[in-house]
Amino acid sequence: MIRSVVIIEDDFLNAMYLEDACLRFGYPVAGTASSADDAMDLIRRTMPDCLLVDVRLTGPRDGIDLVEEVRRERPGIRIIFVTGSDEPSTMVRIKATLPDGIIIKPTDPEQLRARLKEIDV
């Protein structure tokens, strides 16, 4: 059951859109972060059930580094990558984190809804 979602996205407009979409689909958003460090603080504070993560973030660490750290602290958390970076090398790194979903930008809200619904068990 997804009780709250945290959005980690360095682009304000995209973060706003994802937040809006999650709320429309009935998933409360615990907060948004644009860097891996801010995201870790937010995750520790709000303990969300699901993360929507972009690969490119502000700061030295990217979304994949963040997910690797989150996985160590909270192995059961649901993770959906929402990214425009689908180069083979990046996809290999993403898949190594065993995400619950990968959505390639530009994002279709129905795709997001379907993915959230699928993992909301």
Binding site: D11, L13, N14, M16, Y17, L18, D20, A21, R24, R56, G84, S85, D86, E87, P88, I104, K105, P106, T107, D108, P109, E110, Q111, A114
Partner: protein, 514 residues
């Protein structure tokens, strides 16, 4: 670097001219010996070096015949038909003379065929032909007969014969340079006259030059780095042994060196010369290789930078499309007016359809093109995902030939598919949607792409559906069709309806070639 390895060597570009000059020089020597030496009995013209043997008349005549045949071959470029018959006839004459000479010498009947021609002439009847000269004549004929070689085996015969003849002539000439008397002392076989040796040297050099594209001369005269290095080394490799040996001979004659010390000194000097040349070549090749490695690294680095730039650019484009999408979604989700919301959602679908090209471009194996099957699936999947609430369980089946589409065309096709599918699903048949829409992209007549969209229903209804004027969607559809120079044909048979759009592809092929 002093010379460009890719430039054709001077010797190769002037090989035919040099070959012709060598043949003429050989013919002049033979004619001089024949006319001045034998008929006019001018001893100085018969012998290149006084007191030594001279070229016999039959050799001079044979060389003239060979020379004539080679000049003919140089003039006609290829030997087919009559030219081949003439060449074979001349070759047969030389073969008869050389073989006759060999038989006479080996059976001890006479010194040469000349003795049989003029038995009463003491000079002619006493003339002795070196078997080496007769064999060289046969080698020359063999070269002439295989000069138009095409197969590897035939060319090998040509090269081996020409090289063998060249070495035989060289050993005679070099023998005179050092000590001609020793030649006869070893065997009568090697006692080729100096003028004969020089004439054969010119003959075989000319033959090799006539086919400078094959054999070791082909390798030596090639434009690659290895050949350039070998050419630089060649003068040293030829001159060093000759000079050292000649110097050793002079020093021995002067009493400075004993014979054995001369040999050891010559051996050491030759080793030093050859090792120096090998090291020098290694240095040159190493320098070139370092240049090559540096250039390759620079190219790789530039390529990586370009790849990175392309990825970054692609990422930026997608991000911007996502931002546009986000803005439109945010607006659409807050609108109360259904018409305005629908218009915004239609725009979002169009932006997403345009984005499909960028989604696939980087993963494509072919630059500036996207794979048709993946592209169609991607566009169809996006449009059905957006329209899911309206179309229920209706699905889109896609099918395409194994082809890639240029980016320009893919962008337009993506929009077109989006509009056609949207228009189609928004006008359901009276009985409602059932089954699936079928979207197909195939090539026809090699210069036409045909896209069809069919579904179960009435063909006329479908055509009307796509001809409704006024709506933005219709304006886009017919605008894009006009842009593609495409023709639209309604499909309506066996309970299926839809449209076929035939797109001429010549202009995209031209774009690819540009």
């Amino acid at each position: 670097m002093k010379s460009s390895p890719n430039r054709q060597p001077w010797l190769r570009s002037n090989a035919r001219l040099l070959a012709a000059m060598a043949v003429i020089a050989m013919a002049i020597i033979a004619a001089t010996v024949l006319v001045g030496g034998w008929w006019l009995s001018l001893d100085a013209l018969a012998r290149m070096r006084p007191k030594y043997v001279s070229m016999v008349p039959s050799t001079a005549l044979s060389l003239l015949v060979l020379g004539g045949a080679m000049l003919w071959r140089l003039a006609v470029e290829s030997t087919v038909g009559r030219a081949r018959i003439l060449l074979n006839t001349l070759a047969a004459i030389v073969i008869l003379v050389a073989a006759g000479d060999l038989v006479l010498i080996l059976t001890g009947t006479a010194g040469s065929i000349d003795a049989l021609i003029q038995p009463d002439n003491s000079a002619w009847s006493a003339s002795i032909k070196a078997p080496a000269a007769a064999i060289s004549l046969l080698l020359g004929v063999a070269c002439l007969l295989t000069i138009d070689c095409g197969s590897r085996g035939e060319c090998a015969v040509f090269v081996w014969c020409a090289t063998g003849g060249l070495l035989a002539a060289m050993s005679a000439v070099v023998g005179y340079l050092f000590d001609a008397a020793a030649l006869s002392a070893v065997s009568v076989f090697t006692a080729m006259a100096l003028d004969t040796g020089v004439a054969f040297l010119l003959l075989f050099a000319a033959l090799l030059l006539m086919r400078s594209d094959t054999g070791w001369l082909g390798v030596l005269l090639a434009s690659e780095v290895g050949s350039a290095g070998a050419r630089r080394l060649l003068p040293l490799l030829v001159a060093a042994p000759l000079t050292l040996c000649f110097a050793a001979l002079l020093l021995t004659d002067a009493g400075v060196l004993t014979a054995n010390f001369r040999l050891s000194l010559t051996a050491v000097a030759m080793v030093a010369a050859l090792v120096t040349s090998a090291v020098w070549t290694a240095g040159t090749v190493n320098a070139r290789e370092r240049d090559l490695i540096r250039t390759t690294h620079q190219l790789w680095s530039t390529l990586r930078q370009r790849d990175h730039l392309l990825q970054e650019l692609n990422h930026r484009v997608r991000n911007n499309l996502q931002q546009i999408n986000s803005l439109l979604q945010l607006e659409a989700s807050r609108m109360a007016d259904t018409g305005a919301t629908n218009a915004l959602r239609a725009t979002i679908r169009r932006v997403t359809a345009l984005g499909a090209v960028h989604r696939l471009l980087l993963s494509s194996d072919v630059p500036s093109r996207v794979p048709a099957d993946v592209f169609l699936k991607d566009v169809a999947s996006n449009v059905t995902s957006y329209l899911r609430p309206e179309i229920g369980q209706l699905t889109i089946e896609t099918e395409s030939d194994d082809l890639t589409i240029p980016v320009d065309l893919a962008g337009v096709l993506g929009l077109l598919v989006n509009e056609l599918v949207t228009r189609t699903v928004q006008s359901p048949p009276p009985s409602g949607w059932f089954g699936s829409l079928r979207l197909k992209l195939v090539t026809r007549n090699t210069n036409e792409l045909v896209m069809t969209l069919v579904h179960a229903g009435d063909g006329e209804a479908s055509l009307r559906q796509h001809r409704v004027g006024g709506a933005t969607s219709d304006r886009i559809i017919y605008g894009l069709i006009g842009q593609l120079d495409a023709t639209v044909t309604p499909i309506g048979h066996e309970g299926m309806a839809g449209v076929e759009i035939a797109i001429p592809t010549e202009r995209y092929i031209e774009d690819d070639n540009r």
